[in-house]
């Protein structure tokens, strides 16, 4: 795997994956911090930065500058991973020489990004007032929209059942109350503080030489304050407040979540085995949940399971009619119970492993999956698995999967978002 890691003069970690397969260069520039009540401010500062910079004073000029580079994609983003909040920028730039006729698309776009990060429009200790108010309103609307989204509401409902109001489930954009409280001048202070204190990292997927990539970033980010250290995801405390909860809303479909706690293994091989066990349970269309809920009983369009190692949870999800809710919960808990007690068929294991291995082989060329894997491995302290990306799961055998099944605690947690029907 052609992967290099470096540290820029300003302390930013730089990770580059290089392959001749690519025509584009993708860049993730991330700032990391703890997930908490400041999520709203971090997301908002990120949004306001896209409102304009010293050399491109309006959002329209920023957008036009990126568009001129063969339609380079430049966007702000905020997300959460484990107990960390991440904000930053994503770029995707056409850099294949034969297609850009000598245009310096990478240099120009990185220089644009550097202007956004290093030279935001701050006058008299404030961001542009109109931009600030506009983005604040957009952020509020985004939060309201997420509260009305069935999938987001159900996912949060399930996590709140397990963790209550713990920071590790704090909404990535904060709450409406958090946003309402934000003031322009305070946000500027936070911006300066975060630029000089938060750990940051750049992930690049490219066909270009990694030394050249480093040179471009060193040259463009020459005034960014020095940052220290690396970000790490902490182990999430389990606060099992309750084990069963139902609430109703006016959706046309009922969403079922049924899960159990799992102990996260320290060894890479065991984490792979646990992932494979989850794939056997509900990772694809021949897995246990899909077979029992859709194929045999036609109760749902899909039924899948998920393993969240950062939250020490394994859970199944499905959207069903309310008449089938209890049956779906029973099936999910029954199937989870079976895998927890090591009742895994050899043929099912073989099939799941073959399917998962093929899925990975088919996706080895993609930058996004590889960079996400690298980022998650580094943040989680699982550096040992990075070098084995291409051979993951190859050596997992049936006995390994049965052995790690004992890490599942058969203590069911069930959450249902009940349909109420639209008026």
């Amino acid at each position: 795997m052609d992967f290099t890691k470096d540290i820029l003069g300003n302390g930013t970690r730089l990770y580059v994956y290089q392959s001749d397969l690519y025509t584009h260069t993708s860049v993730d520039f991330n700032f990391y911090s703890q997930r908490d009540e400041s999520n709203a401010a971090k997301t908002l500062v990120n949004m306001v930065m896209m409102g304009g910079s010293k050399n491109f004073p309006t959002n329209q000029e920023l957008s036009l500058a990126a568009e001129k580079e063969f339609g380079a994609i430049l966007m702000n983003k905020s997300t959460v991973i484990g107990d960390l909040h991440t904000f930053g920028f994503y770029l995707d730039i056409l850099t294949k020489e034969s297609l850009i006729s000598g245009q310096k698309t990478l240099e120009n776009t990185i220089s644009l990004l550097a202007d956004i990060i290093q030279n935001p429009l701050i006058n008299d200790g404030k961001f542009n007032e109109n931009d600030f108010e506009r983005k604040k309103e957009e952020l509020l609307l985004g939060i309201k929209k997420e509260k009305l989204d069935k999938g987001t509401k159900a996912a949060l409902g399930f996590l709140k059942l397990v963790f209550g109001d713990a920071k590790c489930v704090y909404p990535k954009n904060g709450t409406e109350e958090d946003v309402e409280k934000l003031e322009n001048f305070e946000l500027v202070k936070l911006y300066h503080n975060w630029m000089s204190s938060l750990p940051r990292a750049i992930y690049v997927g490219t066909h270009l030489n990694s030394k050249y990539i480093k040179e471009v970033f060193e040259k463009s980010f020459d005034t960014l304050p020095k940052c220290k250290g690396e970000a790490h995801i902490e182990k999430t405390p389990k606060k099992n407040l309750s084990t069963f909860f139902e609430e109703q809303d006016s959706f046309d479909q009922t969403v079922v979540y049924a899960g159990v706690p799992v102990k996260v293994p320290k060894k890479k091989e065991d984490r792979e085995a646990l992932n494979l066990l989850n794939f056997y349970l509900g990772g694809y269309t021949n897995a246990r949940l899909f077979t029992e809920i859709r194929t045999k009983r036609d109760m749902a369009y899909g039924a899948y399971s998920h393993l969240d190692l950062h939250k020490s949870l394994m859970f199944g999800t499905a959207g069903v009619d309310i008449e089938n809710k209890d049956k779906t919960v029973d099936i999910m808990l029954n199937e989870i119970g079976k895998v927890a007690s090591g009742k895994i068929t050899k043929s099912g294991f073989k099939e799941a492993k073959n399917y998962l291995l093929n899925l990975r082989l088919m996706s080895l060329h993609t930058k996004g999956k590889r960079l996400d894997f690298i980022e998650e491995s580094l943040l989680s302290g699982w550096k040992d698995q990075i070098k084995d990306f291409e051979t993951a799961y190859t050596n997992v055998n049936y006995e390994d999967v049965v052995r790690v099944a004992s890490l599942i605690k058969n203590e069911p947690i069930v959450y249902c978002l009940l349909q109420g029907g639209r008026k």
Partner: protein
């Protein structure tokens, strides 16, 4: 077998095409040999717009229920013995799936570069062998009911279907692809058999292979497809006769308003584009590209006109987006956004469109947008998102176009072409609006 070769000089891609003796048309687009992902598609020219057609057995025109093509997609996903084809794919470590669109239904698999013969044989077998029993039809009704319930909880899906209804007077583009929960209950085995017999014969099926391979090996893939087809003993059948309606220029309904789970009004504003199949494929491809560039230029977030609307609080920059949908004999385009006052949005955008088509559309911005379109097609072939390549190629082919002509046609389009199209189609007196208001 005669192999035709087409080349996209701008991006360096190739396409090979041949007619198999069964009547099936086969296409190969070679991908970078270093990628370990083979994607094979078998699509029929039967989608939600084909609500009326000439039944090949009855020899008369029939009209089917909304959602028939999509329902058939579910029912066709059984092998000749009645087993779920998904299960077969799963057992072999192959990802199989299908989608239904306005003008086609596509069955496909993705696998590592092994066992092509076995997988291709299975794909052709299950798509061309009906297993339409009452039991299967009833079983799939349950699954589709939940699929529709899922869509009905999505504001973006609901508002688009309402816009389709508002735009079209006669054309079946007004119909929802999946149908609704009532229409699917009315679908019977007989409906499905009629559609199946008409559209699922090799004369209406197109095989599209996206395979990492060298050009010199192209012929072997066609020989393999021919061998598999020959083993199926298909009886000859004429290609289906499609029924196209003359859709009036005027929109059907000015405005449709509904309520949904949105924090503030969501607005889709749509215009009719080029309708019908009178023009040849090259002309229609050009019209499609012109429409696409028109939408991208007029509604570009990089334009001064856009920024003025933001400053006037007519639109929100992060929720304002141009869109276009086109295919076999239909085309619409427009813009959507979310704002506190839908009338302010519609009037403001209408005013902006009027100014643009009357000459204020920036020539410089058009040039930038056109250049950026090279990036889009190059990105699709980078295979970062295999699904994007699949849907782009099948969409272009199902519309009757050659993907290798796409870039050369795009590079040939001028500012004047786009401005003229704007004057013709962006008629500010003839548009439809679909609005979703927050639930009370």
């Amino acid at each position: 077998m005669k192999l035709e070769k087409f080349v996209d000089k701008a991006l360096g891609n190739e396409l090979y095409k041949a007619q198999l003796s069964s009547g099936m048309e086969a296409t190969l687009i070679p991908l970078n040999p270093a990628v370990n992902r083979t994607m094979v598609h078998l699509y029929t020219r039967f989608g939600s717009i084909d609500a009326k057609f000439l039944d090949s057995n009855l020899g008369k025109e029939v009209e089917v229920e909304d959602g028939t093509a999509h329902f058939l997609e579910h029912c066709a996903f059984y092998d000749p013995e009645g087993n779920d084809a998904l299960q077969w794919f799963g057992k072999k470590g192959v990802s199989g799936n299908a989608w239904t669109s306005f003008d086609h239904t596509c069955y496909h698999f993705s696998s590592i570069n092994e066992n092509l013969k076995r997988n291709l044989d299975f794909l052709i077998s299950f798509v061309t062998t009906p297993f339409l029993t009452d039991k299967v039809v009833e079983k799939e009704k349950g699954v589709i009911d939940q699929e529709i319930a899922m869509y009905e909880d999505m504001p973006g899906q609901v508002i688009l279907v309402n816009l389709q209804k508002a735009l079209m007077k006669k054309h079946a583009f007004a119909r929802s692809i999946a149908g609704d929960r009532n229409s699917i209950r009315r679908i019977t085995k007989e409906y499905l058999i009629s559609a199946y017999n008409t559209f699922y014969h090799p004369s209406n099926l197109k095989l599209v292979m996206l395979i990492p391979s060298e050009s010199k090996d192209a012929m072997k893939y066609f020989e393999l497809a021919e061998e598999i087809n020959n083993g199926k003993n298909f009886s000859p059948q004429k290609a289906p006769e499609f029924v196209y309606v003359d859709e009036p220029l005027e929109v059907n309904q000015k405005k449709i308003v509904a309520r949904h789970k949105v924090p503030e009004p969501l607005v889709f504003m749509g215009f009719k584009g080029s309708m019908g199949m009178d023009k040849n494929a090259d002309e229609r491809l050009r019209e499609n590209i012109v429409s696409d560039l028109l939408v991208k230029t007029v509604f570009s977030p990089s334009s001064k006109a856009f920024y003025e609307l933001v400053l006037k609080k007519v639109i929100r920059p992060n929720s304002f987006e141009g869109f276009s949908y086109s295919g076999r004999g239909f085309g619409i385009f427009g813009v959507n956004g979310s704002i506190d006052d839908e009338d302010k949005f519609v009037n403001g955008v209408n005013e902006m469109v009027k100014k643009q088509v009357n000459g204020e559309m920036s020539k410089d911005l058009f040039d930038i947008v056109k250049k950026a379109s090279i990036n889009e097609m190059a990105k699709v072939f980078e295979l970062e998102s295999p699904r994007s390549l699949q849907s782009a190629m099948i969409h272009i082919l199902a519309s009757g176009f050659n993907p290798m002509n796409y870039m050369s046609t795009l590079l040939d389009v001028t500012y004047e072409d786009v401005l003229e199209a704007g004057k013709k189609y962006l008629d500010t007196d003839n548009y439809a609006v679909s609005v979703l208001l927050p639930e009370e």
